[in-house]
Each structure stands twice: as C-alpha cells, then as structure tokens.
Amino acid sequence: MDDFFFSLLLAGISVGAVYALIALGLNLTFWTTKTLNFGQGSLMMLCAMLTVFLSSQGLAAALAVLGSLVLVAALGMFIERWTVRPALTSSGGSMGWVVSTLGFGIFLQGMAAKYFGSQAMAFPDLVFTAQDFVTLFGQYVSLQYLVVLAVAVALILTFEIFVRCTVWGHAVHAVSLDPELALVQGIPVRRLILGSFMLSSILAGVAGVLIAQIGGTVDPAFGFDLVLLGFVAAVLGGMGSSLGALVGGLLVGVISKLVGGYVSTAAEHGIAFALLMLALAVRPQGLFGRPEVSKA
C-alpha cells in the first residue's frame, strides 16, 4: 500500500474514532431527552486537564484518568439537573438547553483558565509514547493511534451490546421512543436520564484524554472544535444511531485527512462541514437514522 495513503488513512481512522465517541455521547442524551449537550467540548477539556493536574500531584496515570472521569460524570449529573431539566420544563422556548449547555461549557472553560491557567499544559504519555510503533504490512504504525482506535471502537461496541442485550439497554430504548409510556410502565425514567448524561460525560472525558494524548498539550479552549466535528459525525451517521456514530466519525476523519492530503490542507477542516450540509440536503436522517414521523 502507498505510504502516503496509508498514513492518511490511519490518522483519519484514529481521529475519526474519537469523533465517533463524541457523537455517541451526543446520541445518548438525544435518546433520553432529545437534547444535545453542547458543553461536551468543555468536559473533554476538563477531563484532560484534571488528568494532568492529578498526575502532577503524584497520582498514578490510571488513577488520575479514573478520578477525572468520576468528576466529569458528576458534572454530567449537574448539567442534566441544572441546565437541561429547567430548560425543558420551562414553559417558554424549548431550545433553551442549547444556550444553557453551551453557557455551562463556557463557564467550565473560564474555571479551568482560572485554576489551571490559560496556557497549554503538557499531557503525559499514558500507555505509549509518540515514538512507539509496530510494523503492519510493512508499514510503520504508531501505537498511540492504535490505542486511540482500539479504545474508541471497544467502547462503542460495548455500548451497542449494552443497549441491545440488557434490560437497562431496552429501558433506554423505551425512554427514547416514549418517555411518558415508559414511566407508566414503571421504568425509572428520571434515573435513566441522569445516567445518560453521566455516561455521555464519561464518553466525552475518554475522548478528551485520547485526543490530548495525540496532541500532547491541552488548554482551556481545547475541545470546542472537536465537539463540532463530533456533531457532524452524529448527523452524518444518523442522530441516535450508535453504528451511525461510528461510521459517521470514521467517515469524517478519513475524508478530512484524504482531502487534506490529496487536495489541500486548507480544505481539511472545511470538508467536514461540507459533508454536513450535503447530508442535511440529501439524507437529513443520516446514513443509519430513520426519518422522523409525527402524527397530527
């Protein structure tokens, strides 16, 4: 295989897998509440920064990541309780959650800048360094890229199995279809909603840690662009579909890299949004989504 193509493909798949994780996080809250947490980018940033901070305090890397994930999960609960629920229950605009989740994300950015400083912080190598590699089909393959890919795909598959094969997964599905009927059936809808926000935040945190390892630094503004690309991946794959999130993320990652490599690096970022516009125009439900039908 051509070295040039292979390098672009591998990088595209690897970063695409991270977009897929973010997309899955967005899907989760969409299922239970039909809302998206636009503060996901800040949760990614906060998890990565907390990992750096806890590591610098002498905590083992695995514990630092775990501690950070617990904290962002708690923040996920807070977001549901104080930014989404009031916006959904208020009599006025049903889109208030867009502003409130985004606003909370900006608040987290400010807090991170105040307590950790606004400069880029070096992110530690967790499992492998940028120099570690394996040779695959005669090609040089970075282990960091492979770890990112493996973790992201494993999480998405685990989640898919959870939704399809467990009672709780079926309950989430039921809530996504009709929360009121689910409540009547005795499903703890409130707890499921809270859980979806916590899990969505954990997925954002994992994505933040994975991508920070690729870049090597993290600062308070980290994550904002990434959540936009995750959103594109979610829409492209089909809002609410796990398989769609994975395929959408990989498509966005690979196409961006190939366009950057073969056409122009200046077009690398823009192509993702061109894909979004195309998807909305040609297939608004996305690749794996179902068209929404509403009865009068």
Partner: protein, 400 residues
C-alpha cells in the same frame, strides 16, 4: 452683582490651577493592551512583567526629573483584535497617558495601528512581526511617524532562517493560517529562493489548535523535503513534533521565534532535541551584555525562576527576551525619550525617539531609530540556536 470679564478670567484661571499643577507634578503615565489572559498570555503577560520591572527600576532611581512613572492603563485583549481596538480607545481617551506599547501579536497591532497613528502619541511595538505594522505603504515608503518597533520582524527573521535553510535543496514550511504565519512563510520562501534559486519549497498551512497534522506532514514528506520550518506558536509546534515522531518523519527541524517557547518544550518533551530556531542573540552570549544581564537579574529577583525564566537560574530561557525583555525595553525607550526631550508632549517624544542612537537595550544591544527607519532589530541581533537535552533540562545553544 456685576461680574466683570476680568474677574471671570481670573476665576477660571484659579480653578484651572490645581489641575495644571497636578499635571506637572503627577506621575508620568503609560498604557497598553495585551493578551494578559487566554491561551497566548505568555506573550501579553510577559510584556506586562517586563514593563513592571522597567517602571520599578525607574522609580527606584528617582523617576524622571523627580516624577514617578506609572503603568496607568493595562488592559486585557486576549489577542483578539476587536478587543484590542476597544481597549485602545479607552486608553487614548485618557489624556494623561503619554506613551504606549503595542499589543502582542500582529492581528491586534494591525487593528490598532491606524488609530494610534491618527492620535499621534508615541507607541513602541515589542512583539508583533508583520512589516506592515511599521511600514503600511511598503518598505520603500516612510514609516508611521509615531510607531517604532523593537520586535523580531518577519523580514529580518526570514533572512536569518533562509540563511540556515538554504543549505538544503528541498524545504518544507508549515505555517499557521494567521497573518503572522502566512506573511512569514511567504517571506521565508522568497528569501530561500533568492539565496538558492533552484531550491524547492513546499508550503502547507494549519489551523491553530489542530490536534493532528498528518495531512500537512505527509505532503511535506511526499515532496522529499530535507528540512522543515514551522512558523507558529509553541503548543502547535509540539503537536507537529509529536506527529512527526508518530509518522517516523525525520527531517532537520527549524522553528520561528514564536514557536520555540515553553509550550513547545513542555508539550514535545525529549523530542525537542535537535530543533533549531532563530531568536534573540542577546541571551545566548556568555557573558551577556550589561543591559541583558541587568534585566535577567531584575526578573529573577522579582519573579524567580518561573515558567518564563525557566528552571536554570544561570541560564534563562532564550524566549524570555521576546516574551518579557521586549516589554522592558519598550518602556525604557519611552522613559529615555522623555528624559532627552525634557517633555511628555507627543511631538517632543516622537522627535526624541527618532533621534535614539545606540541605546543599550536588553534584547537588542544597540537600538537606533531615524525618521526613515523605525525598526531597531537587525540581522546581527538574531542568533540560530539548537535545542539540546542536558540531563533533565532542555538548553538552547547559540550556533550562529
């Protein structure tokens, strides 16, 4: 009661007396807007610290003819041009401000340049690199009358970088997609081709904060580049260096002055070894010249061996010159101009700055301006450094 015109005049004069007296005896005020917070605050907070040291040093020696100096308006723009414009408007509305320093970065500085030129008060540029800041109508035309610069300009930096890069036949340039990056890349490309007409230069751009630069790097690799230059800021340079390692790309690596800063060293870790960069020569010489050593000692005494200074007390980071030292020099130049002019009136200060001759700065050894030449830093003020790992520390050694 009849009030005569004479008594009215006398009354007005009496009322005006206290403010006149205050103006004569009050502090001499300077102001500036800079990125004091935000992701680029290593530059803005840096010049702020330099300015503070200059002011304290001046006041300790009795000020200017007995009048103390003060940083009266120091505002934060986070390197956002619009905010820099708003801040400068507020600063210029304060008529007591007699001299200013430009913001960090070409974007904010270009945004405020016309405003300050129209106002007429003197301003000195510590860090912004684009030539249009000083020479808006071209290099063969006169500079802005009241805007002076001691920064590492793109022109002189590109000459120095081209001197080092023209030993290679094929060169890749990776630049951020800002005005600083685009102008810098274009100037370096022209300078390399000017020195070596057969050289092949591949130019690629990236957006600040991109987390993966594979596409840019493999394009440079595909062009068979032997050396690569990065024109951007330190955190992005760290991403590029790590990405090079993941792709097993081994080229002679060069960085512009803005790239080889603390975030690069922290973010890329051991991988920085071997990177070459152009930066102020003043801090690379041993012993340093008098003004540089004095500034370094003052900084260490006030702030210690912090992030800007680096961990080695005997060898401050070279980037301290550009991030902090240039702010120190700017305020000192304004103070020197007031002393020589014997006045804080803008035309007198501008005239005095125009006549600055061989002033010993910390970052530029001999600063001179003329009415035609408002750029102090020349080719000989720059050095080419190589980053080396010594034990746990990264050091920059002056090579040329």
């Amino acid at each position: 009661m009849k009030i005569s015109r004479r008594s009215l005049t006398l009354g007005a004069a009496a009322l005006a007396m206290p403010s006149l007296a205050r103006a004569q005896s009050g502090t001499i005020k300077f102001g500036f807007t800079a990125a004091l917070t935000g992701p680029f605050n290593e530059f803005g907070e840096g010049i702020n610290r330099g300015a503070q040291i200059a002011v304290e040093e001046c006041n300790k020696t009795g000020g200017i003819n007995g009048r103390m100096v003060e940083l009266a308006e120091v505002l934060d723009d986070q390197l956002v041009p619009d905010r820099a414009v708003q801040n400068l408007r507020r600063i210029l509305d304060n008529r007591e401000i007699v001299g200013l320093m430009c913001p960090s970065g070409s974007g904010p500085t270009l945004a405020i340049a016309d405003m300050i030129q129209a106002d007429g008060r003197p301003i000195i540029n510590p860090q912004a690199q684009t030539p249009a800041i000083v020479y808006p109508h071209g290099l063969d035309k006169p500079p802005r009358p009241n805007l002076f610069s001691i920064s590492i300009g793109n022109l002189v930096e590109s000459e120095k970088l081209a001197a080092a890069l023209s030993q290679f036949g094929r060169v890749g340039i990776l630049h951020e997609s800002t005005g600083y990056g685009v102008t810098g890349a274009d100037l370096v490309r022209k300078a390399i081709i000017g020195r070596k007409p057969g050289a092949r230069v591949t130019v690629e751009s990236y957006n600040q904060r991109a987390q993966d630069m594979t596409a840019q790097l493999v394009r440079v690799q595909r062009a068979n580049a032997e050396a690569m230059l990065v024109i951007g800021l330190g955190a992005d340079f760290a991403v590029i260096r790590r990405n090079m390692s993941r792709l097993n790309i081994n080229l002679a690596l060069f960085g512009a002055a803005g790239a080889v800063t603390v975030p690069y060293i922290e973010g890329a870790g051991d991988l920085v070894a071997g990177t070459r960069a152009v930066n102020h020569a003043a801090f690379g010489h041993r012993p340093m010249h008098g003004a540089a050593q004095k500034f370094v000692d003052l900084y260490r005494a006030k702030f210690g061996t912090d992030r800007w200074y680096g961990p080695d007390a005997a060898n401050p980071l070279i980037s301290l010159a550009g991030t902090v030292g240039s702010g120190y020099d700017c305020i000192n130049l304004l103070i020197d101009a007031i002393r020589r002019a014997g006045s804080t009136a803008a035309p007198d200060m501008v005239r005095a700055l125009d006549q600055t001759k061989d002033y010993e700065g910390a970052t530029v050894r001999r600063i001179s301006f003329t009415p035609q030449d408002h750029v102090a830093l020349k080719l000989e003020d720059l050095g080419t450094y190589e980053m080396l790992k010594r034990g746990e520390r990264v050091v920059l050694e002056l090579r040329d």
